[in-house]
């Protein structure tokens, strides 16, 4: 493994958490990374922005111009549009995130696209109050700093600097704790976790049986452990010819065989099935072999 891979693996291991279900089963959960959460927020803001653009264009198409605010409020139709616009701004600021996070997926469209959802810390049930609390805090964390920046609020000398420090506390909050909690998560008792979906892949050990061609003995199967089995499974699923050839050669060197070439897939599949049977029978007696060194 290269240094980069090692770094990624350790960083991922730090984000692993466990959830104990009421059945007493430990489910692995992975905290969503800070980067993907920031990206999800940007995506959501982008969706809101596009939504507004479409809304204003539609109003323009039916002949209403928002530029002439004075016109609004004179006529009943203009008055209605005025109310709708103000309410739309209000609900996109406070309601969008609330509505989507209360849904069955527990995620806004941005979070969903990046494979994340909101969950209650410590395996509790996610309640409506939690989602409300975490989204009310969003106001000071996202919208007020944004308006401040757009309004050049930081130019105002000492007050501007104080406001900057104050808002930076909120923006930098997720970097100061292990669970990447933002202030809203802390207050609501929630965190954001990854939701990986997995498809059920076929079992490799069900491939046509060649155990008559290749027979492996106890000594030959004892050299490898579970880690090597999983690496082998990965190689077989990828199906790269060159990699299979390399792996087959490595195994043959180790167990002192010579299989020639052209038949690597059958050899590896059979070896995989035999090794799995061997390791699983050990498991049934409580003996687990983690890797070739143990």
């Amino acid at each position: 493994m290269t240094k980069l891979q090692t770094a990624i693996t350790t960083a991922n291991a730090k984000r692993e958490r466990e959830l104990i279900t009421p059945e007493g089963l430990a489910l692995p959960l992975r905290i969503a990374s800070r980067g993907s959460r920031a990206l999800a927020l940007l995506l959501d803001l982008f969706f809101l922005f596009v939504g507004f653009l479409v809304f204003i264009l539609c109003l323009g198409l039916i002949g209403l111009n928002l530029g002439s605010i004075e016109g609004i409020g004179r006529t009943p139709a203009g008055e209605l549009v005025g109310i709708v616009v103000i309410l739309a701004v209000f609900f996109s600021r406070y309601g969008y995130f609330l509505w989507f996070e209360l849904g069955a997926r527990g995620a806004t469209p941005g979070k969903r696209l990046l494979g994340m959802r909101v969950a209650a810390r410590g395996g509790q049930r996610l309640t409506t109050e939690m989602v409300i609390a975490r989204n009310l805090m969003r106001d000071v964390e996202v919208f007020i700093p944004a308006f401040f920046l757009m309004g050049n609020g930081f130019d105002a000398g000492l007050t501007g600097a104080a406001a900057f420090v104050w808002l930076a506390v909120f923006v930098l909050f997720p970097f100061c704790n292990r669970d990447a909690l933002r202030a809203g998560d802390l207050v609501a008792g929630t965190f954001v976790v990854e939701t990986r979906r997995a498809k059920l892949q076929d079992a490799i050990s069900l491939a046509p049986d060649h155990s008559q061609t290749y027979r492996f003995g106890e000594a030959e199967l004892a050299v490898y452990g579970e880690h090597e089995l999983q690496v082998l499974e990965g190689v077989l699923r990828t199906g790269d010819e060159q990699a299979m050839q390399d792996v087959a050669e490595a195994i043959c060197r180790k167990i002192g065989w010579d299989i020639g070439s052209g038949d690597e897939r059958e050899f590896l599949t059979t070896f995989y099935a035999a090794l799995r049977a061997h390791l699983e029978s050990g498991m049934r007696f409580g003996k687990r072999k983690k890797d070739k060194f143990s």
Partner: protein, 355 residues
């Protein structure tokens, strides 16, 4: 058969598929284990996907009845597979499946309307009663802020310009002509354009209330500052009108929506203080647990404060501009105040009464 009825109970229902030739042929025990159960796993996955998409109507009655059993079966399969199988693909699949199913089965049980019913029917008032101490603190600082505003302007009128932003005073300043001040309290002739104004006020005031809550995160101090500064503005205004001999009219004018709006700001500030206070003094609990406990309770109070601000916006935009008589205004304001006090004190859930 005497035991036939057992088959109707999902727990005892047999697997629908007979062991196929494929299962018989599988050489590994773990593969047989998997092949026997994967039909159930995939059935659970279909149900969970429908739930996630928000289309529970697509699930048949049979599927829905079997859902808890399918979930427990998948969870138990996962536990067994972890100890007996080295089929990484199947374990990864089960991990993801059980997690998704867990989120659906142990997820939020209420709909938004159901939550709202419970909320208005007792949840809100109970949360408000629970934070009574914080309400007292917030009320104290609001009264103190008003007094400070009044005293500052009465000693040195220049303070008025520091406290009240120029755009807001609109000619209402110390030493102004009483006639101008009286004009600003008059109702407008008709209601045109008032609904836009009311909506704007609501959106604006809710922003302030949410800010008051969210700032409570920093141990409540910014919330107190926000309350004092807003109320000092009110105190300054009050002095200006009282000086011109219009104190009674001003209070009446303010009370129409003010009792509701100031009540909402009081609740929002108290919610912020509640969070801040729990984080500063968590007691026996960890800071995280204390903040969460307080945050969830404060969120209920805040959701209610938003409703109060809708009412306040309507009162301010319509009623205040249409009703001109000070005594009538005062009566409306007083009635609203009495209504809120009675609601918070008296609205209890049935189980609360029983307990």
């Amino acid at each position: 058969m005497a035991l036939d009825y057992l088959r109707k109970i999902p727990w005892f229902r047999q697997a629908e598929i007979a062991p196929s030739a494929e299962i018989e042929a599988a050489s590994l025990r773990s593969d047989r284990f998997r092949l026997e159960r994967e039909v159930d796993w995939q059935r659970l996955e279909r149900i969970v996907t429908a739930l996630e998409k928000g289309r529970p109507k697509r699930i048949t009655d049979d599927d829905l009845l079997d859902l808890p059993v399918l979930y427990r079966k998948a969870a138990s399969s996962l536990a067994v597979a972890r100890e007996t199988s080295l089929d990484a693909a199947a374990i990864a699949y089960l991990d993801a499946l059980v997690r998704r199913a867990w989120f659906q089965i142990y997820g939020p049980r209420e709909t938004l309307t159901g939550w709202l019913r419970g909320f208005l029917g007792g949840g809100w008032s109970r949360a408000v009663r629970t934070i009574w101490l914080d309400i007292c603190i917030a009320l104290f600082f609001m009264v103190a802020g008003t007094a400070v505003g009044w005293l500052l302007v009465s000693r040195e009128p220049d303070w008025f310009y520091a406290l009240v932003p120029g755009a807001m005073s609109d000619g209402r300043e110390p030493g102004a002509d009483p006639e101008v001040l009286r004009q600003s309290l008059e109702p407008t002739a008709n209601a045109d354009g008032l609904s836009v104004f009311a909506t704007y006020l609501f959106s604006n005031n809710t922003g302030v209330a949410i800010l008051a809550f969210a700032l409570g995160f920093a141990f409540g101090i910014p919330t107190l500052l926000l309350l004092i500064s807003n109320m000092a503005l009110l105190g300054a205004m009050l002095f200006v009108f009282a000086e011109a001999g219009l104190g009674y009219e001003f209070v009446a004018w303010l009370s129409v929506h003010g009792t509701t709006e100031l009540g909402a700001i009081l609740l929002a500030g108290a919610a912020g203080i509640h969070v801040g206070r729990s984080m500063a003094f968590p007691g026996q609990r960890s800071v995280l647990a204390a903040a969460q406990n307080a945050g969830v309770r404060a969120a209920q109070v805040m959701a209610g404060a938003t409703i109060m601000l809708v009412v306040a916006g309507l009162l301010e935009g319509f009623v205040r501009q249409l009703v001109g008589e000070p005594s009538a205004r005062l009566a409306i304001g007083g009635a609203m105040l009495a209504f809120w006090c009675l609601y918070f004190a008296g609205m209890r859930r049935r189980q609360d009464r029983a307990a």
